[in-house]
């Protein structure tokens, strides 16, 4: 642990302020709570919101896992993991079930989360109605009155143009039958994992200065039409490395002659499946 910094980088007053916002967010599932976002030693868009939330809830006995696009070894994940290792000295891990806090960007791990875990999302744009209604005063009123028809107008537009709901990530959900929420840019593949999830889900948007939350075992419904129900992505192939047919697959270009392969985006899940297959083969 590096000297000269407070535990988890933020000062104690800031952490208390953020915890108060987190408590309020948990009390009103899906509601965006404003908070005094601080300058962090990395640019907006790299996870300042998520880092502040993690810094406020992390304790010395926690174990942290950080993923970016499902992977533990990408630049963003590595630097955030190292940031917390240096400023808190907590144990870090890549194994989902060992972690008590998972900070993520773009994915929810394939391994089901438990009650004693917290998942922290980095959110670029918290307001689901932002591109549909430019006025902040009006979007707040729409939230206050659950006036969400305009989101269905967007889905209608999708069906009219493409024949199906073409929104594939950041798919709008209704939390606890009340608030419309943007689940941050996770693929809609992960939306069903949020519904009734035993783990606490916290969302931090640093630039927009908003925190929201989905408490454990809360209903999270993806919006749809009766005759165009919500459907997750499916692939005609399985993971080229571990053979999984149930995980979210990334398409990877392997050469400039059209070579490509599909692999799991969750590296921890994929790696351990490969390891156990290797053992089974021996």
């Amino acid at each position: 642990m590096t000297d000269g910094y407070n535990f988890a980088y933020l000062d104690e007053q800031t952490k208390r302020m953020i915890r108060r916002s987190v408590l309020k967010a948990v009390a009103i599932p899906g509601y965006q709570v404003p908070f005094g976002s601080r300058e962090m030693p990395l640019p907006y868009g790299w996870g300042t919101g998520g880092i502040q939330v993690t810094a406020s809830i992390i304790g010395a006995d926690d174990t942290l896992k950080v993923i970016d696009q499902g992977a533990d070894d990408t630049t963003n994940a590595v630097s955030i993991r190292r940031f917390f290792a240096r400023t808190t000295g907590v144990r870090t891990t890549t194994r989902t079930e060992e972690a008590t806090i998972v900070q993520t960007r773009h994915r929810i791990p394939e391994t089901p989360l438990r009650e004693d875990q917290i998942i922290v999302f980095q959110v670029p744009i918290p307001e689901p109605l932002r591109w549909l209604e430019p006025r902040e005063a009006e979007t707040r009123r729409m939230h206050a009155y659950s006036d969400y028809a305009v989101m269905h107008v967007r889905l209608y537009e999708d069906v009219a143009r493409y024949g199906h709901i073409a929104t594939a990530y950041d798919y709008p959900v209704i939390v606890n039958d009340r608030y419309l929420m943007r689940p941050s840019p996770i693929p809609k593949f992960d939306n069903p994992k949020m519904d009734g999830c035993p783990a606490l889900m916290l969302f931090g948007a640093g630039r927009e200065k908003r925190i929201y939350a989905v408490p454990p075992y809360t209903s999270v419904k993806s919006l749809d039409f009766e005759d165009h129900p919500f459907r997750i992505e499916s692939w005609t192939t399985t993971c080229a490395l571990c053979g999984s047919g149930e995980s979210f697959l990334d398409e990877v270009i392997t050469d400039d002659k059209g070579g490509r392969m599909f692999v799991c985006s969750d590296t921890d899940y994929c790696g351990r499946r490969q390891a156990s297959q290797g053992k089974a083969a021996e």
Binding site: A149, V159, D227
Partner: protein, 274 residues
């Protein structure tokens, strides 16, 4: 006796088919700073009746329309609306969610500029379907069928249901706006210069269509216009405004053929004849 009072006294209107007016406006006034936009306007609108508000630019017509359609809270007076169940709602006394719900179920507002009343970023079908989705329609096929039906009724080419409104002509945009409002079968429609900015032949067709719809759907309507010919064609009753006040109110034909107030006389006599 001054002509002002006479004009009001003969206000009879068509025989009301129902016991109560759908909209009662009592002493409504609105000021912008020291500027009086409208003052002490009182009238009643009965189910199925069309009331035209005429007057020169700056007479307070649009401010009045905004006040009585829930878009702008007046400084004085009250606006009472009769709900479907017959009970009275004070427009600015009820909670805002109910007012917003009324505005997209029981009312329609047709703006002079289609840009104010349409969503230009989404297709014609989505524009018409929005109100249905707002009141809970969640079946894409049904929403689309309703949108198709209303586009047909408004004589918009159904093949253009997926086109953006900006590719439509001015007259078609206006018809699209009307379809968008009528899809929830409102009982009361507010129109602000619905035919302003359209050329005369398009205007004539649109007026014809509006007249048919108003009588078919038994709509009550408040129509703001500076065009006396439009008022004569569509309105049962006519209210003349000047300097923020209603100076004369009566049956359209009566007011136009036998104007009492000097200003109305001036207005009627300044209509250009071809």
């Amino acid at each position: 006796m001054n002509p002002h009072v006479t004009a009001f006294e003969r206000d009879g209107g068509p025989a009301p088919s129902l016991a109560a007016p759908i909209l009662s406006v009592r002493g409504v006034g609105k000021r912008y700073g020291s500027n009086v936009a409208c003052r002490d306007v009182t009238f009643e609108l009965w189910p199925g009746e069309v009331l035209a508000v005429v007057g020169e630019s700056g007479a307070g017509k649009t401010t009045l329309l905004h006040c009585i359609s829930g878009q702008l809270e007046p400084d004085d007076g009250e606006v009472l609306f009769q709900r479907r169940d017959g009970s009275q709602a004070n427009l600015y006394g009820i909670p805002e969610p109910e007012r917003r719900r009324l505005m997209r179920t029981d009312w329609g507002v047709i703006h002079q500029n289609p840009r104010d009343g349409l969503r230009f970023g989404v297709s014609a079908g989505a524009n018409v379907g929005e109100r249905l989705m707002a009141v809970g329609a969640r079946h894409y096929g049904d929403i689309r069928a309703a949108a198709t039906d209303w586009l047909k009724r408004l004589e918009v080419d159904v093949a253009r249901i997926d086109d953006l409104p900006q590719t439509f002509s001015g007259g078609m945009q206006q018809r699209l706006q009307i379809a968008r409002n009528l899809v929830t079968q409102p009982r009361l429609v507010f129109m602000d210069e619905p035919t302003g900015g359209l050329d005369v032949s398009v205007q004539a067709r649109l007026l014809d269509l509006l007249r048919t719809l108003v009588s078919e759907l038994h709509l009550a309507a408040v129509l703001v216009t500076h065009d006396l010919a439009v008022a004569r064609l569509l309105a049962d009753r006519l209210m003349v405004m000047r300097g923020g006040e209603a100076v004369e109110l009566g049956l359209t034909d009566q007011v136009l053929d036998d104007p009492q107030h000097p200003y109305t006389q001036l207005l009627v006599s300044s209509v250009l004849q071809i």
